[in-house]
């Protein structure tokens, strides 16, 4: 009973934190995009427009939930839930600081990537369930894209696991506290992971599943109101979780650079973690507002002809060096 209660409490806290992060990230996205386009961004609702996203959420809550008459009722209903739940559940194993985190799984990294790739189901369900051509094309593209970027993503990360010798995220951070961060050990892996993670979370320039100019809104064309909000929140949650994993694997998690991390209070570690995550998210936003969307065939070519060989080369080189050092 007690564990049940603490689990429910944990889920509620996590949901609150992620929803709040979603609000902040949407605001940040708007401000960053505006500044990069010489605009001012939201500045009417609340001080500096801070309440703009809250107003948007209220609007989405009040909107009608429209369902296509011929849509598949169950699948149509389940898709937005899965789109949010999968990245949400991945947070369970992310170590936010030395003593903060929900569960430290032995196969933490594996668990995170498994959940990350299951988002593709949500997208395909949304496309199939809404019985709309645009949505279906968006979903098909998304399936192709996510499957082909999953491979270089995981291959790029394998180098880190070879060096660390563990799949537990907490242990990986602790190993980094003893030596160099893995961004210095695996620079190519870091870049590949960053690119592939951007593609995994369906963000521009890899946002083909929801290419507005050709597919209306892609897989979520038929969604409205709160279901649409869940897709939106899911995108930001996935962005958040991939940045968290990136920070944990390559940027030393909660560790503070150039400092003795043994006697530092926990809140400073947490601050360090959060600022690193936001830095990565800013980087993703920077990509989004700089690069134009790739064409479908270019996207596939980039995934298989550039990312994949580089990831394999990285893996091979890392393996040889690790083998040579150990023997």
């Amino acid at each position: 009973m007690n564990t049940m209660l603490s689990a429910i409490l944990g889920v509620l806290i996590l949901f609150g934190v992620i929803a709040l992060q979603g609000l902040i990230l949407v605001y940040m996205e708007r401000k960053v995009s505006a500044w990069m386009q010489s605009r001012l961004g939201p500045n009417r609702v609340g001080p500096w427009g801070l309440l703009q996203t809250a107003a948007d959420i209220v609007k989405l809550l009040l909107k009608e939930n429209i369902r296509n008459e011929r849509s598949d009722r169950v699948i149509f209903f389940l898709a937005p839930i899965l789109a949010f739940v999968a990245p949400f559940a991945a947070f369970v194993t992310v170590p936010f600081a030395a003593t903060i985190g929900f569960r430290d799984l032995d196969m933490g990294a594996f668990y995170v990537f498994a959940l990350g790739s299951s988002v593709v189901f949500a997208v395909i369900w949304a496309g199939y369930g809404s019985n709309n051509r645009y949505a279906l094309i968006g979903a098909m593209r998304s399936a192709a894209q996510m499957i082909s970027y999953e491979v270089p993503l995981v291959t790029a990360v394998l180098g880190v696991f070879l060096v660390a010798g563990t799949l537990s995220l907490r242990e990986i951070v602790q190993l980094q506290s003893q030596g160099l961060w893995y961004v210095a050990v695996q620079p190519l892996g870091f870049v590949l992971f960053l690119v592939a993670a951007t593609a995994e979370s369906n963000r521009a320039p890899f946002d083909l599943p929801e290419a507005e100019s050709e597919l209306v809104a892609g897989f979520h064309t038929e969604y409205s109101g709160m279901k649409f909000a869940f897709f939106y929140l899911g995108e930001y949650a996935e962005m958040l979780v991939s940045s968290c994993v990136l920070v944990v694997l390559f940027l030393g998690g909660w560790l503070i650079p150039f400092a003795n991390n043994a006697n530092v209070p926990t809140w400073l570690h947490l601050l360090s973690f959060v600022s690193k995550v936001y830095l990565i998210i800013f980087l993703m936003m920077w990509f989004r507002w700089t690069f134009p969307r790739l064409r479908v065939d270019h996207l596939m070519a980039f995934g298989w002809k550039v990312l994949m060989p580089l990831a394999l080369v990285n893996l091979l080189a890392t393996g040889l060096i690790v083998y040579w050092l150990k023997s």
């Binding site: 960053v32 500044w35 990069m36 386009q37 010489s38 605009r39 001012l40 920077w286 990509f287 507002w289 700089t290 690069f291 550039v306």
Partner: protein, 199 residues
């Protein structure tokens, strides 16, 4: 193989250049003008709607400069100006406009009336928020009982627009100043000459 690596490096460099461009723009001053609160600086020759000039000093301050010569009425291609005249209160002048009404429903801002005016009595102002809810109030009275009268800024009539204020362009201010000074000096000269003649 070599070409593959070369292309890879070249294209990665191109991406970095693109990132640098957006980063530069992020710290540049923003181009947005927040309209109701801020307004754009307009060029001197901007054509807003017609403004009536009037004496700002002396005995007849507030009295229109329009002498009802009807040049603008004749030249107006859409006949949107109505002028009635009266005797000028200043004995050195003959006629003055009693009422000057401009129908903005018809007016096409062609600037011909301003060009026709020999007395610089009307100029093109810099105001542009002209939208009103009722076309019956679009007859703008610019002169009423020989006095300058700006109907558009009559609070009871003005129902739209953000700021209830008139924009005076630098050119407009200049014209007002120069004309008033010149006219004042000329009038003093004329009066002196007349008094000399009389004596």
């Amino acid at each position: 193989m070599i070409r593959y690596i070369k292309d890879l490096l070249k294209n990665s460099w191109a991406l970095l250049v693109g990132l640098a461009v957006t980063m530069r723009y992020m710290f540049r001053p923003k181009t947005t003008v927040q309209f109701p609160e801020q307004k754009k600086e307009l060029g001197d020759r901007y054509i807003g709607y017609v403004k009536m000039m009037y004496e700002t000093e002396g005995e007849h301050a507030g009295v229109t400069k329009c002498v009802a010569c009807m040049a603008c009425v004749v030249v107006c291609p859409v006949s949107c100006i109505q002028v009635t005249h009266d005797k000028h209160p200043d004995p050195t002048k003959k006629r003055i406009a009693k009422e000057f009404i401009l129908d903005y429903v018809k007016c096409e801002f062609c600037n011909l009336c301003v060009e026709a005016c020999n007395f610089d009595a009307i100029i093109m102002g810099h105001d542009y928020e002209l939208a009103l809810y009722d076309r019956s109030v679009m007859d703008m009275v610019l002169v009423k009982d020989m006095k300058y009268h700006d109907d558009l800024y009559d609070a009871s009539r003005r129902q739209t627009g953000s700021a209830n204020r008139s924009i005076t362009s630098p050119r407009e201010r200049e014209i007002i100043e120069v004309i008033n000074k010149k006219e004042h000096e000329e009038r003093i000269k004329k009066a002196a000459a007349q008094s000399e003649n009389a004596s």
